[in-house]
């Protein structure tokens, strides 16, 4: 992707996220043991469009904060079981994916208490009897922070996706698939399990592009990627190695399984033509495989080079063919 295209995508992404955030319903936990105060809070917060969850003890509040999908919490300072500041401290000590904005509700308003509450991890505090306009404004502040965080997380996830996936096929990209290979080799060695790999490419792909155009070629490549993904197990990984070369990692896969999977993949492409706007095109793939079954310490480079040689042999044998490297097998 060119740099300017990349920035256009980022800007579009930000707009999309902004649009989504406007519709996000903010979940607020209210922890308050006094029923009168609770009723006033409930009525106000509902009126301001928040989704609320209510509890009247510190323990119940902790249970919800720990497991529930809460964005903000309004916590009474003094509650049975656990105080507001204790709750703040517990929330902050926990490792969390998302931030919870914490507001303490208190009739304590001397600076010492306020410092204690904020030090415990509260973001803000409102003194009782609270002025509804003030509480509304303070909740809005929290909402802004929560939405900002959710925008950041969203774009982080999208950037992560962009950095590790191939844009056309949505498969793992070259860098990601080889990183996964390194990790899987370590895991397989530790667990004493065989690791299988397959390199495959489309037979006469250049001819497809030359005859039907590159758009049809893209459709063919995308369809093949999708069929391969459907025909491996969930924990197998399929990545785009080069132009039309795809790389498949098969954890816990011995030579018998490898043979079975390779043939299934080959057949998944061969048996049904691929629909493009130009024509229905019959394509085949050639595949080369290797497994660490008989040589557990096989490094990544060896697995790649052996499966690559097997792929060349499959091509030589007339294509639409799957060959497993004998070299590692015989070691």
């Amino acid at each position: 992707m060119k740099l300017n295209e990349f920035f256009v995508t980022i800007i579009r992404m930000k707009d999309q996220i902004k649009h989504q955030n406007n519709r996000v319903a903010i979940q607020v936990l209210i922890a308050e043991d006094d029923k009168v105060t609770m009723e006033i809070l409930k009525k106000n917060l509902r009126g301001w469009g928040y989704n609320i969850v209510t509890v009247d003890t510190g323990q119940q509040a902790w249970k919800i904060l720990k497991t529930g999908d809460i964005h903000m919490a309004v916590l009474d300072w003094i509650m049975p079981g656990m105080s507001g500041p204790e709750l703040c401290q517990k929330v902050r000590q926990e490792k969390r994916d998302r931030y919870i904005y914490l507001i303490l509700l208190t009739s304590k308003d001397n600076p010492k208490d306020i410092i204690q509450g904020l030090t415990a991890g509260a973001d803000d505090y409102v003194t009782k009897p609270f002025n509804p306009h003030e509480l509304k404004a303070r909740l809005e502040t929290g909402k802004r922070i929560i939405l900002l965080e959710s925008q950041l997380l969203e774009s982080q996830n999208k950037l992560q996706e962009m950095a590790t996936h191939d844009e056309l096929t949505k498969l793992w990209n070259r860098r990601a698939i080889f990183q996964i290979l390194d990790e899987e080799i370590i895991r397989s060695t530790r667990q004493h399990l065989p690791l299988g790999v397959i390199i495959t490419d489309i037979d006469n792909f250049k001819r497809v592009n030359d005859t039907y155009g590159h758009q049809a070629g893209d459709v063919v490549l995308t369809e093949i990627a999708s069929r391969l993904k459907k025909n491996v197990r969930k924990y197998d990984k399929v990545g785009r190695y080069g132009g039309d070369e795809l790389f498949i990692i098969l954890p816990n896969c011995n030579l018998v399984n490898l043979d079975f999977v390779g043939r299934r993949l080959q057949e998944s492409i061969n048996r049904k033509k691929i629909k493009t706007s130009q024509a229905e095109i019959h394509v085949t793939i050639s595949l080369g495989g290797a497994s660490s079954e008989s040589a557990p310490d096989t490094p990544a480079e060896k697995l790649i080079s052996e499966s690559d040689k097997a792929l060349l042999n499959a091509k030589k044998k007339g294509r639409n063919c799957f060959i497993i490297s004998k070299k590692i097998q015989n070691q």
């Binding site: 006094d34 009168v36 105060t37 009723e39 009525k43 106000n44 003094i78 009782k128 609270f130």
Partner: protein, 118 residues
Amino acid sequence: MSDQQNQSDVSPIDYASALERIGGDEDFLNELLELYTTEFSNHFEKLQDAIHKGDCQSIKDIGHTLKGSSANLSLIGLKEISYQMECAGQDKDINKAKDVLLILGKEFQRLKDYIDSR
């Protein structure tokens, strides 16, 4: 408690300020006052029990809770007396708590009379 005697001349609730706090909804304020009186009775019983047992922490906590809910409804006298109860618990002064309990009961009765007369 000369303050309390003075307060007996004024309304037990600053109605206008309570109403403003809940957005002017009179029906809702009446519901809240009803809820308050039910809750108050529970707290009052617990307070009596705590004073009897000499449980100063409970005296302090209940006093604190009552102070908060009284403040939210602008029950000026009840808020002040609850605060004194909280202080009695804090100071571990059971005799003071006993005195304050009597005043609290009287002020609550004033609120009930006020509600009934409306």
